[in-house]
Structure formats: C-alpha cells, structure tokens
C-alpha cells in the first residue's frame, strides 16, 4: 500500500510525523495500535503468539507479552504520554478452524493475551474488531487519528 508504513509479523513501528501505519493480512495475528492525539505519535505491533515463555527473540513484536510493553515504551520515547494514548486492536480471527500447537484457537488466545498486557500496563482498550473468521488489514492514520479495518469480503469500517 502506497505511503503506508507496513508492520510485518513480529515487528513494532512508531511514527511521529503525518502518515499511515498498518498491518496487512491479519489472520490469527493481532495488531495493537496506539495513538497519542496531542503528540501526534502513533505506533503498531503485529503479534503472532501470546507468550514468549521466557525464550529470547530478536522480533520484539512476535509475542503479546513482549510486543505490547515494548510498543508502549517506544511510543513514550517518541513523546507520547500514557494517559493520552488511545489503544485499539484488530485481528485474532479463526480462518481455518485448526488447532495450533498447544494453543488451540490461536486467534482467541492472542486476543486474550493482548488484553491482559494492556490491563497490566494500565492502558484502556477503546476499540476492537476481533475474532470471527475473516482476515483483516488494520490501518492507523496519524493525520486524522482514524483507525480503519478492511476485510476481503465484508468491506471497510472504522473502529
């Protein structure tokens, strides 16, 4: 997508100038978007799995328990303030109805794990488009502060 900062699986990105930031093709993955409307700083993490269980990873965004705290940290480093941050999440679908490893419904586990992390960090979730059986693309527009979800079949919506 033109002019959009694309956040791949396991990646974390923070933008402090006008533009869009997004995660394309979320299935069971969950993307967490944070936006500080005053500092005009926005960021996103593209989470693949709920819990690192102590293992080391170079991809800080891969797990909910590493990705969400690091996203907040990077947001604050760019001037965002925790009490102003708006948090919305999308993803966690079950496209194929198959069990993954020890996780069972991995999409559902990802949603739960992300919410646990937000809770623990004292961040309030202000919008979500999660679950179901459709893939999503999740975009945060820093110019307008609008969070958009696109799907292959049911179209486009703001959350």
């Amino acid at each position: 997508m033109n002019g959009m900062l694309n956040v791949g699986i396991g990646e974390i990105a923070v933008l402090d100038k006008p533009g869009k930031i997004g995660a394309i093709g979320l299935g069971s993955c969950v993307a967490v978007a944070m936006y500080d409307p005053v500092a005009k700083v926005g960021g996103m993490v593209h989470v693949l799995l709920p819990d690192s269980r102590g293992q080391k990873t170079e991809l800080l965004g891969k797990f909910a328990n590493t990705g969400v705290p690091y996203l907040l940290k990077f947001m604050e480093q760019k001037g965002a303030r925790k009490d102003r941050i708006i948090v919305k999440i999308a993803g966690g679908a079950s496209l194929m109805n198959v069990s993954v490893g020890n996780f069972g419904d991995i999409g559902k586990r990802n949603i739960e794990a992300v919410k646990e992390q937000l809770n623990a960090l004292g961040l309030r979730l202000q919008g979500e488009d999660t679950g179901g059986n459709e893939g999503r693309t999740f975009i945060l527009d820093l110019t307008t502060g609008i969070f958009t979800v696109k799907t292959a079949r049911s179209g486009l919506r703001q959350i």
Partner: protein
C-alpha cells in the same frame, strides 16, 4: 540454534530435495484424480524472517484459496497449498465442466479436496521418507488474504524461531490457467535434528 546453522547451504539443499520428493508425490496424486498433466517447478528455498514470509509468495493483501495441514513426528511443521483466488475458475471448469464460485460451499469443498490430495500426499511422502513417523493433522481451508491464511502456519512453526526455512514449489495444470503453490515450512529446530541425523 545459531544463525549460521540455518544459513548453511546444505540445510537448504536438503529442504529442497525433501520438497521435491513431496511435491512429486503430490502432483502425481492430483494428476491421476483429474486426468490431466500436473507440472511442478524445481522447489525454491528461502531463509526468511517471519515477517517477510508472505512476500515470498506475493502481495499479503491478495485474495487466495488455501488448504493447510500441520504435521508432527520425526519432522514438525506445516504445509499449505495456495491458489490465487481469481484463477480458481479454470480449475472448476477442468474438474466440474462448469464455473463455480469460492463463496459457494460446493466450490470451496472442491478446493479443499484438491488441496487435501496435494498436501496429504506431500506429507505422506515425507512420512515414507522418514519411515512413517510423521502424523498429519486434520486439514483447514480458507479463502482470504494471503497474509491472513499464512498466520496459522507461521504460528505453528514460528514459536521457537525468528527466521524460517521455506520451500516453495509452483504448480501448473495442463490446459488450466491457474496460479498455485505448495509451501512447506518445517520448524527449524526439527529440521536441524534431521540434518544432524543425516550426518550433515
């Protein structure tokens, strides 16, 4: 596992050979079912970061029809057959003699069947190679964005690794204009175990 282990070209060659055996069996099975010649390219192998695997296949937002099978045993991992959704009409014509739609349950179940045959025989070829110690899980099917359908495979194999070894084979069917791939991603840790066993 250190990075160097996976970067070893021998490891990638072994994966390429395995994918060759697997896809050979897979297309033979499909070919005898549909009575048409099914062709494959030499498998391409990649060592790629989790976040970039979708880009090996195309645009993560592109709509595809995919069938997934996870497998466990001597080798752990997942294999997937992926068809470009807009090109499945040729497949329907060839198989049913009429056009169908992926939103039609019949169309979807036909894709699932073709996918099952391909991925199922791929995995059973691996099992034969390793002495019947690989169990395939029940398959899943979905029509959605490429990036989204790949999530389940990456979640399965990406738990302990940031970089993955990926084998991609392009399949073609005589008289049918279809874009399709068979993708195999073993977990790097189980693959390393196997190459060590082979004395590599």
């Amino acid at each position: 596992m250190s990075k160097d282990d996976l970067s070893n070209p021998v490891i990638l060659d072994v994966l390429k050979e395995l994918a060759n055996i697997g896809t050979g069996h897979a297309v033979t099975a499909l070919s005898s079912m549909i009575g048409k010649f099914v062709g494959i390219t030499v498998p391409e192998v990649y060592l790629e970061s989790l976040g970039k695997v979708a880009n090996i296949l195309g645009d993560p937002a592109e709509e595809v029809a995919a069938v997934y099978v996870g497998y466990h045993g001597e080798l752990d991992g997942g294999a997937m057959v992926i068809f470009d959704a807009s090109s499945t009409h040729g497949l329907f014509q060839a198989l049913m003699g009429c056009d169908m739609d992926l939103s039609d349950p019949m169309g979807l179940s036909l894709i699932q069947e073709v996918g099952n045959i391909l991925v199922g025989s791929f995995v059973s070829a691996l099992a034969t190679f390793f002495g019947n110690t690989i169990l395939a899980e029940p398959p899943g099917v979905a029509v959605d964005m490429l990036g989204a359908v790949l999530n389940v495979l990456l979640a399965e194999v990406g738990q302990h690794a940031d970089r993955l070894i990926v084998a991609k084979t392009t399949i073609s069917i005589e008289d049918v204009n279809i874009r399709g791939w068979i993708v195999d991603i073993p977990t790097p840790e189980s693959f390393k175990r196997i190459t060590e066993k082979l004395g590599l």
